[in-house]
């Protein structure tokens, strides 16, 4: 597989074409909710992402955005990945994904950790391209910020 094919794996292209979580959804009034708008100033990609947190569990992620296939697929993948997880798990997944993006295409030695990423492990190929890592991280930045804004992290 060429480097290009490693980056644009079918699972990424599928997510980009039919993204999960697109379309902002209001959280029920008794849940905590936070929203974040993130922009990649170098290419103009942007995302508005909203979290719905019930107690300590992320029960919903929804977003609107425009951008390249990597940023769109990444937002889609994270929607699937974190929904239903508690806040500690989400923080762990975020850390593992950031480690993967910093791996310069080598992936992670910790295969168990990599497995927890599910479809997000397909982004290993993206980490070979320094200019594209920020595309993959755009949605994750919005997730982190929206969780902070929701007040759920403060308990």
């Amino acid at each position: 597989m060429s480097s290009l094919e490693q980056m644009y794996q079918q699972v990424i292209l599928d997510h980009a074409k039919r993204p999960h979580g697109r379309g902002l959804v209001d959280a029920p009034a008794d849940h905590r909710s936070g929203e974040s708008h993130q922009v990649n100033p170098t290419c103009g990609d942007e995302i508005t992402l909203r979290v719905d947190v019930d107690g300590a569990t992320v029960v919903g992620v929804s977003w609107e955005g425009q951008g390249c296939s990597i940023s769109q697929a990444s937002a889609s993948v994270l929607t699937e990945l974190v929904t239903g997880h508690d806040l500690a798990d989400v923080a762990r997944l975020d850390a593992v994904f950031h480690d993967l993006m910093g791996s310069r295409g080598k992936g992670l030695d910790d295969e168990d950790a990599l497995d927890t990423l599910g479809d997000a492990s397909a982004f290993t190929g993206v980490s070979q391209y320094p200019a594209r890592i920020k595309c993959a991280l755009l949605g994750w930045a919005a997730l982190k910020d929206s969780l902070a804004r929701s007040g759920a992290l403060a308990g």
């Binding site: 060429s2 290419c43 103009g44 951008g67």
Partner: protein
């Protein structure tokens, strides 16, 4: 400026091969051994050996502080520095004392904007009256500007109470002059515009804009970054008041550029960066300033880079800018043929008239970043994003475009390879 009856022929194949042989970087491979097809010259150009050697030679043989020192090296360094100024001035139809070294075009435009600020704050005495702004005065730009010729004017307005106005562009990205007398009015003090759009490649109607500005006594500021490397440019003939351009886009080094100003304007303009080398008499209480261009060149200058810029100007001048322009006209005609590829839409003029070989485009169903990545995999370097022109992209309703841009060393074969690779992009992403 090149009249049709005196057009000299484009570069011959042998000449073009010789030109390319002078650029070491063009010989390298990328992405697993593919020959490099460099189509990002509007962002920055590659450098010929003569420029690289001139910088090395300066450091090896002549390095010294300029305009001071009694020793031979100081003399030689100063001579090289001022000789470069003459070369750059001659290249753009200016006199040497009308050329101020700056770190680049962005710095040059900011220098002008802050000179207006300083004049407005009362600096520069009676001579600086032309640079004094009052609330309600207007500064006119265009929707096609690079951020470097937009943000400094926004900031100047915010500091002075002046009002920013702008010309829109038509569907081809050309400046819409249909209401010129409603945009440029008695209130207009500055008209700042790009000679050639770094996105659409469209050449601005300089004569019309200069005439409109003159009718109301406004100063004109020309962003000549994208024109000077590709067209014969005669700033005296264009009759603009001030102009900015960068070395690194015209085969020269990074870190140096030039501000051109008509002599009497530079003489009236208050300094911006102050310190050593730009003074006459300094006491503990106050300072009088050197005449231009030194008044605007405080501190140790980027001498080796300036020498490199001078060599780049001479190198292009010897090749003949009319012939360079003719070569690049042929390249532009080849580039716009991407409009024939299904799903590819050019953002800017669709034909080769009154435009340069800078072509931005979108591919239906594929984001510009992804387009650039697939081209990169074939060794083809293009720019993706908004190219520091967000308002123009907003005008066209797109967040990002891909851009292919040529220079003197680009070949029609490279553009054919680009077209072929571009034609395969939609299939790669499964878009029909």
């Amino acid at each position: 400026m090149t009249t049709t009856d005196t057009v000299r022929p484009s570069l011959t194949a042998a000449e073009l091969a010789a030109v390319r042989a002078d650029f070491p970087l063009l010989g390298r491979t990328v992405r697993g051994g593919r020959p490099l097809v460099y189509l990002d010259s509007a962002a920055t150009s590659q450098k010929p050996n003569v420029v690289l050697e001139a910088e090395v030679d300066f450091y090896e043989q002549r390095n010294a502080a300029v305009h001071r020192g009694a020793h031979q090296l100081a003399e030689e360094a100063t001579e090289a520095f001022e000789d470069a100024r003459e070369a750059v001035a001659a290249f753009v139809g200016a006199d040497a004392d009308e050329i101020v070294w700056t770190p680049g075009a962005t710095a040059a435009i900011n220098l002008v904007a802050y000179a207006f600020s300083n004049a407005t704050a009362g600096r520069g005495g009676a001579a600086a009256e032309r640079f004094r702004l009052a609330p309600g005065d207007e500064i006119v730009v265009t929707e096609a500007e690079h951020h470097a010729n937009l943000v400094p004017w926004q900031e100047l307005c915010a500091r002075t109470g002046a009002v920013l106005r702008w010309f829109g562009v038509d569907d081809e990205g050309r400046i819409d002059l249909s209401h010129v007398d409603q945009v440029i009015t008695e209130r207009t003090r500055v008209v700042a515009f790009g000679h050639v759009s770094n996105v659409s490649g469209a050449i601005a109607p300089v004569a019309e804009l200069v005439a409109a500005a003159k009718r109301v006594g406004a100063l004109t500021v020309l962003d000549a970054c994208q024109s000077v490397p590709h067209l014969p440019v005669d700033l005296h003939a264009l009759d603009v008041d001030l102009a900015a351009f960068s070395a690194h886009k015209m085969l020269g080094p990074t870190g140096v550029g030039a501000l051109y100003g008509r002599r009497e304007l530079l003489e009236a303009m208050p300094p911006v960066t102050t310190g050593g080398s730009m003074v006459e008499v300094v006491t503990m209480a106050e300072t009088t300033f050197a005449p231009p261009p030194q008044r605007f060149e405080a501190g140790t200058q980027m001498v080796a880079q300036a020498v490199g810029m001078g060599v780049a100007a001479r190198w292009l001048g010897e090749l003949g800018m009319d012939r360079v322009a003719e070569h690049e006209r042929e390249l532009a005609a080849e580039l716009v043929r991407i409009g024939e590829i299904p799903g590819v839409r050019i953002v800017g003029p669709a034909d080769a008239r009154d435009r340069l070989a800078v072509v931005s485009f979108v591919v239906d169903g594929v984001h510009a970043h992804d387009v650039g990545q697939v081209l990169d995999d074939k060794g083809i370097a293009v720019r993706v994003g908004h190219h520091c022109a967000q308002p123009l992209h907003r005008r066209f309703g797109v967040a990002a475009t891909a851009r292919a841009s040529a220079s003197v060393y680009t070949t029609t074969e490279e553009i054919a390879a680009f077209r072929e690779a571009l034609a395969g992009v939609r299939a790669f992403f499964g878009v029909d």
